[in-house]
């Protein structure tokens, strides 16, 4: 059964772009020109997802979102904002009402597809039948992970150290070989070296995005830390993450788990002998933050019962301090403090600077080492 998405935007152009982006998928696109129409269509159609603009005549997106979240029948529908309004206060205000994600205009169809695919499964159009090609990440994909790398030593390092019964590796030396194989059997994810000649890694991702059956396949890049431009280009092109060479098995495995949506395996909170440790990874999705929050709720009680008085939030791997992370930290630290625990944070100076741009976190202190954090606690 096709999924349904509701695009609420006063611009016909944006609604057409959304419709075009969804064309390769088994998706019904409903439209509304303002918040009032949007609520009516949402009640009539019960969409699986709403894409919502902010500035619209008659009823704006904030008003529609507020009413939607107050309606017991509609409040569960995930909402993604698609808007040119991206001021800090605006985002915070909207985030507090409850949205799953935020796309700031200008945007590419690729970003739209990628963000939507994190929230809902995008089945290729016409693939509903049993004979359809397996969708990326689906159970029938067999969780085969392609590794595209021309250096045998790195392939060996990856396949020897990053082992998990949830997937099997298949190695290719060139991007052309990998794409040819993918057209026959879609992989669950692709790990590709960003140092392949002539930008072949990004070209491979684009080739995948051009095929509906492969479009949602997550890509993870491999690059040396100094290849800043390659990493930046990959991130801008829609890579789900980049893992450092030489291969850091834990990091790559964490990224693969996330890409393969093995959320149940994700462990954000654990107890050590003298504190509770909450560790966030480089790119936390909303879903992962929800999982992390549930774990904090459980472990914090356990920690308090065990007499542990300190909660350490390790954000050293986090590159960008997002609104979602801010909301997570506010709620998680409040829970710990309610239980009488002291909270300390670890993070880079860049992250601290990023946190200072939000009023709620402008005075937060991030330690660079666990020892100094524990000393202050």
């Amino acid at each position: 059964m096709p999924k349904k998405i509701l695009s609420v935007d006063d611009s016909k152009t944006v609604r057409l772009i959304v419709r075009k982006a969804m064309k390769p998928y088994d998706m019904i696109v409903c439209e509304a020109q303002n918040g009032e129409e949007g609520l009516a269509v949402a009640r009539a159609e019960k969409p699986d997802m709403i894409l919502l603009d902010v500035t619209m005549p008659v009823m704006d997106g904030v008003e529609m979102l507020t009413r939607l979240k107050a309606d017991p029948e509609l409040k569960q529908i995930p909402v993604m904002m698609l808007t040119a309004e991206a001021g800090r206060e605006n985002i915070l205000k909207i985030a507090k009402i409850g949205v799953r994600d935020y796309i700031v205009k200008p945007f590419t169809e690729q970003v739209l597809v990628e963000k939507l695919s994190r929230i809902m499964t995008l089945e290729p159009a016409g693939a509903a039948g049993a004979a359809a090609a397996p969708a990326a990440g689906g159970a029938s994909a067999g969780r085969t992970v392609f590794i595209v790398e021309d250096k045998p030593a790195i392939v060996q390092a990856v396949t020897d150290t990053v082992k998990n019964s949830a997937w099997t590796w298949k190695h290719f030396t060139t991007s052309a070989e990998a794409f040819q194989a993918a057209e026959k059997n879609a992989p669950a994810a692709v790990v590709v070296s960003l140092s392949l000649a002539e930008g072949a890694a990004i070209d491979l991702l684009r080739s995948f995005r051009g095929r509906p059956a492969l479009a949602a396949t997550p890509f993870i890049g491999l690059a040396v830390k100094t290849a800043v431009e390659d990493i930046q280009r990959a991130q801008e092109s829609g890579f789900a993450g980049v893992s450092a060479k030489p291969v850091d098995a834990a990091d790559l495995e964490a990224k693969l788990r996330r890409a393969l949506k093995l959320e149940g395996v994700f462990r954000a909170a654990e107890l050590t002998k003298d504190h509770m440790l909450v560790r966030l990874t480089e790119e936390m999705t909303s879903a992962q933050l929800d999982v992390a929050m549930a774990q904090v709720m459980e472990k914090a009680t356990e920690a308090a019962d065990s007499g542990l008085g300190v909660a350490v939030y390790d954000l050293t791997a986090v590159k960008t301090f997002t609104v979602d992370i801010l909301k997570f930290l506010i709620s998680a630290t409040r829970k710990c403090e309610d239980l009488g625990m002291r909270c300390v944070m670890l993070g880079t100076s860049e992250l601290a600077a990023s946190a200072r741009t939000f009023d709620e976190s402008k005075d937060w202190h991030f330690h660079d080492k666990l020892e100094s954090a524990m000393a202050t606690a």
Binding site: S11, V14, I17, A84, E85, R88, N90, K105, P106
Partner: protein, 180 residues
């Protein structure tokens, strides 16, 4: 917020923000480079009302304002032919796909393009503590009109070139803001 608001002489910063906004939106939405040809910055008189080359050109003008701790309005002046080309680029169409009666499609696309440019511009103002909201886009179309801005506005006009055609971005900001 004084540490993040605009500097005492904000013209250069505003120019940088505007050029960045135009380049970013063109690169993302129409996958074209917009090259700055010239700019008039820091003018509180309006002796150089923007004219596209060839005053008899039919133009499409997109307008979006921003209102809040700082107020202003930005006009995007595009020759009709370029406006049609950009609308097609945004929608993945060819100009031949648009009929004579498709001015509405072009108007809507240029309204959205202007909305994104002004949004990108004003989001940088918001991040500097000057919170403001966008107004709804409006469109003017024709060949024999001029937009007369309010007196004493801080005005900057930027002329860009893309696909061998020129267009203008006219930025007007209310100077009553304390930092202007």
């Amino acid at each position: 917020m004084s540490d993040t608001a605009l500097p005492a002489a904000p013209e250069a910063l505003l120019a940088e923000m505007m050029i960045d906004a135009v380049e970013k939106v063109f690169g993302t939405m129409v996958r074209r480079k917009a090259n700055l040809i010239r700019q008039f910055v820091s003018t509180r008189d309006h002796s150089h009302a923007p004219d596209l080359e060839g005053t008899d050109l039919s133009v499409v003008v997109g307008t979006v304002g921003f209102i809040g701790k700082i107020n202003g309005v930005i006009y995007l002046y595009l020759p009709e032919k370029l406006a049609t080309r950009l609308a097609c680029d945004m929608l993945g169409l060819e100009p031949a796909d648009l009929g004579d009666g498709d001015a509405e499609t072009v108007n809507d696309a240029i309204g959205e393009l202007t909305n994104m440019i002004v949004g990108t511009f004003k989001n940088q103002l918001c991040d500097r503590g000057l919170d403001c909201h966008l107004t709804i886009p409006s469109i003017l179309r024709g060949s024999h009109f001029k937009v007369q801005p309010v007196a004493n506005a801080l005005r900057s006009v930027f002329e860009f070139e893309t696909t061998d055609q020129r267009f203008l971005a006219d930025v007007l900001i209310d100077p009553s803001h304390s930092t202007l």
